[in-house]
C-alpha cells in the first residue's frame, strides 16, 4: 500500500514540477525542453517499479524495470548476437537495398508520364496493405537465415519510399523549371541541381518512416522461421518460456536500435536539408 501511495505522490510531485517548468519563464530554452520529457519518462519508470512491487504483480505478467535492467546487463552477449543477426544483417541490408531500389524506380517513374499515371495509384494501394503478410512466403523462398528477413524488409520499405520520392520530385514550381530551361540545362542537370535537392525533405521523410518498418519487418519475419538466433526468435521463444524479463530486455534493444537508427537519419537530414524552413530555428 505504501508503494502505491508513494507512486501517487511521486506522480503528483513530478507533474507539478513539469507544469512549473513548462509554464515558467525559461520554458523555451533547450535544456528545459529536453528535461521535461526526460522527467516524464523517469516518472513513468518509477511508477511502473512502485506499482509492480506494491501490487505484487507476478513476474510472468509484468517484470519491474530494475529486473529488466539487470537481465539486460547480464545477458549482453546473447542480446548483441541477436542484434547483429536481426538488425545489422537483416534490417540494415534490406533497408539499403529497398530504399535504393525505390529511389531508382521513383526516378524512372517520374521520367515517364505513363508510368507515373499507372504505377503511382498501384504503389499507393500497396503502401496501405498489410505487407508483413508476405513474410511467410518470402521465408519459404529465401530460407530461414537473414536473407529472407532482408527480403521482407525490402518489400516493406519499397512503397513508402517510392511514394515519398515521387512526391518530392514533383515539388518544383513552374518558375524554377523555366529558369533551368532558360539556362539550357539538360534533364540530368535539372535533376541533380534542382529537383533532387528540392525532393530531399520528402526523401528523408520516406527514409525515416522506413527505419521503423525495417525493424518491424525483420523481427516479424523471424516469427515465421529463423535460425536459433535473432530478436524475433528470442522474443517468441522467451514468451513461450514465460521469461518475460528477457523479452523486455530484447524490447529495450529494439527500442534503442530503432531510436538510434531514426536519430541518425534525422541528423543526416539536418545536414542535407539545412535550407528547409522546418530545419531553421
Amino acid at each position: 500500500m505504501t508503494y502505491l501511495l508513494l507512486a501517487l505522490i511521486l506522480w503528483l510531485a513530478l507533474w507539478a514540477l513539469n507544469t512549473r517548468l513548462a509554464n515558467g519563464p525559461s520554458s523555451e530554452t533547450r535544456a528545459v525542453s529536453l528535461a521535461i520529457p526526460l522527467i516524464f519518462g523517469a516518472t513513468l519508470l518509477a511508477i511502473w517499479e512502485l506499482v509492480v512491487r506494491g501490487l505484487d504483480v507476478p513476474l510472468v505478467i509484468l517484470p519491474p524495470p530494475s529486473l529488466i535492467a539487470q537481465t539486460f546487463a547480464t545477458q549482453t552477449a546473447i542480446l548483441w548476437a541477436d542484434f547483429v543477426q536481426t538488425f545489422v544483417k537483416g534490417a540494415l541490408t534490406g533497408y539499403v537495398i529497398g530504399c535504393a531500389a525505390a529511389f531508382l524506380t521513383a526516378i524512372l517513374v517520374d521520367r515517364y508520364a505513363l508510368l507515373k499515371a499507372g504505377l503511382l495509384p498501384v504503389g499507393n494501394f500497396m503502401a496501405a496493405l498489410p505487407i508483413v503478410g508476405t513474410a511467410p512466403i518470402l521465408v519459404m523462398w529465401f530460407g530461414f537465415d537473414w536473407q529472407s528477413k532482408a527480403a521482407v524488409v525490402v518489400v516493406m520499405v519499397f512503397f513508402p519510399m517510392l511514394i515519398n520520392t515521387v512526391a518530392g520530385l514533383g515539388e518544383t514550381t513552374a518558375m524554377q523549371r523555366d529558369l533551368m530551361r532558360t539556362y539550357g540545362a539538360s534533364y540530368a542537370q535539372t535533376l541533380t541541381k534542382l529537383r533532387l535537392p528540392v525532393a530531399m525533405p520528402f526523401i528523408f521523410n520516406g527514409l525515416k518512416i522506413s527505419t521503423t518498418l525495417a525493424l518491424v519487418g525483420a523481427i516479424v519475419a523471424e516469427f515465421f522461421g529463423s535460425p536459433t538466433l535473432g530478436m524475433g526468435f528470442r522474443i517468441s521463444t522467451s514468451v513461450g518460456q514465460l521469461a518475460l524479463d528477457m523479452v523486455w530486455a530484447e524490447i529495450v534493444v529494439a527500442a534503442l536500435a530503432g531510436s538510434a537508427f531514426y536519430g541518425i537519419i534525422a541528423a543526416i537530414e539536418k545536414g542535407v536539408t539545412f535550407w528547409h524552413p522546418s530545419q531553421r530555428t
Binding site: 510472468v60 498501384v122 498489410p130 508483413v132 503478410g133 519459404m140 521503423t212 524475433g232 527500442a255 531510436s259
Partner: protein
C-alpha cells in the same frame, strides 16, 4: 477513363510477369514429380538437376510448363489458383466453416475495428489535451514520437500472452495492438489539424469574447477535419496490420492465423489467398473512410 487505363495496364503487366515467373519458380518440383510419374526429363538424374539453373530447366523441359501451373503446393502459385482459392474460400464454404475466408476475415475485421475505435478515440483525446495544455505538449509529445520508433509489432506475441494470463483473451488483446498502432497517426494529424486555424481566425474569436470551449467546437474542430480523415486512413491500415500480427500466436482463427498455419504445412495457396483477402479487406476499409471523408467535407463545404 483516362486515369484508369494506365493503372489497368500496369496491373496487366504485373499479372503477365507473375505468370512468366510461375514456371521458373516451380520447375524443379514439377520436373521431379513428372520424372516420378515416368516422364523423360532433361537432365535425367536428380543430382545434375540440383545444380542446374531454373531458367535452363524451363528451356530444356518445355513440355513441363503446363504442369507448373497446376501444382498442389507450388513455390509460387499461379494467379488463377489464388483466385480460385479466394473464390472458394469466400463463396464456396459455409460462413461458419473453419476453412471459410469470410469466417477468418470477420475475426480479423472485428479486432481491427475495435482497435481502430479505441486508438482513434484515444488519439483524438490526447491531441485535444496536447493542443490545450503546454505541459502535455512538452512532456507527452516527445514520447509519442519515440514510441513509434519502437517496433511495437514485435511486442504482439508478448502482449497477447500476458493479457491471456491476466484472464483476457479473444478479441481484446489483438485490439490493443491495433489500437497502439493506429493511435499515433491520429495524434500527429489531429494536433496539426487543431493548430491549423491561423492567428487572424483565432483573434477574431477572441474579439467575439469566445471561450476556449467555443473556440474548440466552432473553429478548431471543424478546421481539423481534413487532417483527421487523412490520418484515419493511415490509422485503419495500421490497425489491420496490428490485428493480423496479433493473430499469429493465438489459435482462435483470423487471417494472420491462416497465414501461419499455411506456412507450417506448406500450403502456399492458402497463404496467398489469406494475403489477398487481407489486402482486399484493408483496401475496402480505406475506401470506406474515403467515402465518409468526401461526404463529410462536402457537407462542411470544405471540398
Amino acid at each position: 477513363m483516362r486515369n484508369v487505363s494506365p493503372v489497368l495496364m500496369v496491373v496487366a503487366v504485373l499479372l503477365a510477369l507473375w505468370y512468366l515467373a510461375v514456371p521458373v519458380m516451380n520447375i524443379k518440383e514439377t520436373v521431379t514429380q513428372l520424372e516420378r510419374g515416368g516422364a523423360q526429363v532433361v537432365p535425367a538424374s536428380a543430382q545434375e538437376r540440383r545444380g542446374a539453373g531454373h531458367f535452363g530447366l524451363v528451356a530444356k523441359n518445355t513440355f513441363a510448363i503446363p504442369a507448373t501451373f497446376v501444382q498442389d503446393r507450388p513455390r509460387l502459385p499461379a494467379p488463377h489458383q489464388v483466385g480460385a482459392e479466394l473464390w472458394d474460400g469466400v463463396v464456396g464454404k459455409k460462413i461458419t466453416s473453419k476453412r471459410s475466408l469470410v469466417y477468418h476475415g470477420s475475426i480479423t475485421l472485428s479486432a481491427t475495428l475495435l482497435g481502430f475505435a479505441i486508438g482513434a478515440g484515444l488519439g483524438i483525446l490526447l491531441a485535444v489535451g496536447i493542443v490545450h495544455s503546454r505541459v502535455m505538449d512538452k512532456s507527452v509529445m516527445p514520447w509519442a514520437i519515440v514510441s513509434q520508433t519502437i517496433p511495437i509489432i514485435a511486442l504482439a506475441p508478448m502482449i497477447v500472452v500476458v493479457l491471456y494470463s491476466a484472464g483476457l483473451q479473444g478479441l481484446f488483446p489483438k485490439a490493443v495492438i491495433s489500437a497502439y498502432l493506429s493511435f499515433f497517426p491520429v495524434v500527429v494529424g489531429m494536433v496539426k489539424g487543431l493548430r491549423s486555424p491561423d492567428a487572424a481566425q483565432l483573434d477574431l474569436l477572441k474579439t467575439y469574447n469566445a471561450s476556449t470551449a467555443q473556440g474548440f467546437w466552432k473553429l478548431r474542430l471543424p478546421a481539423s477535419m481534413p487532417y483527421l480523415f487523412a490520418s484515419l486512413k493511415i490509422a485503419i491500415a495500421a490497425a489491420m496490420v496490428g490485428a493480423i500480427v496479433g493473430e499469429l500466436p493465438v489459435q482462435g482463427g483470423g487471417l494472420g492465423n491462416r497465414m501461419l498455419t499455411g506456412s507450417y504445412y506448406g500450403q502456399t495457396i492458402q497463404i496467398w489467398s489469406a494475403l489477398f483477402a487481407a489486402a482486399i479487406l484493408a483496401a475496402s476499409l480505406v475506401a470506406l473512410i474515403s467515402v465518409i471523408q468526401r461526404g463529410t467535407l462536402k457537407r462542411m463545404g470544405l471540398s
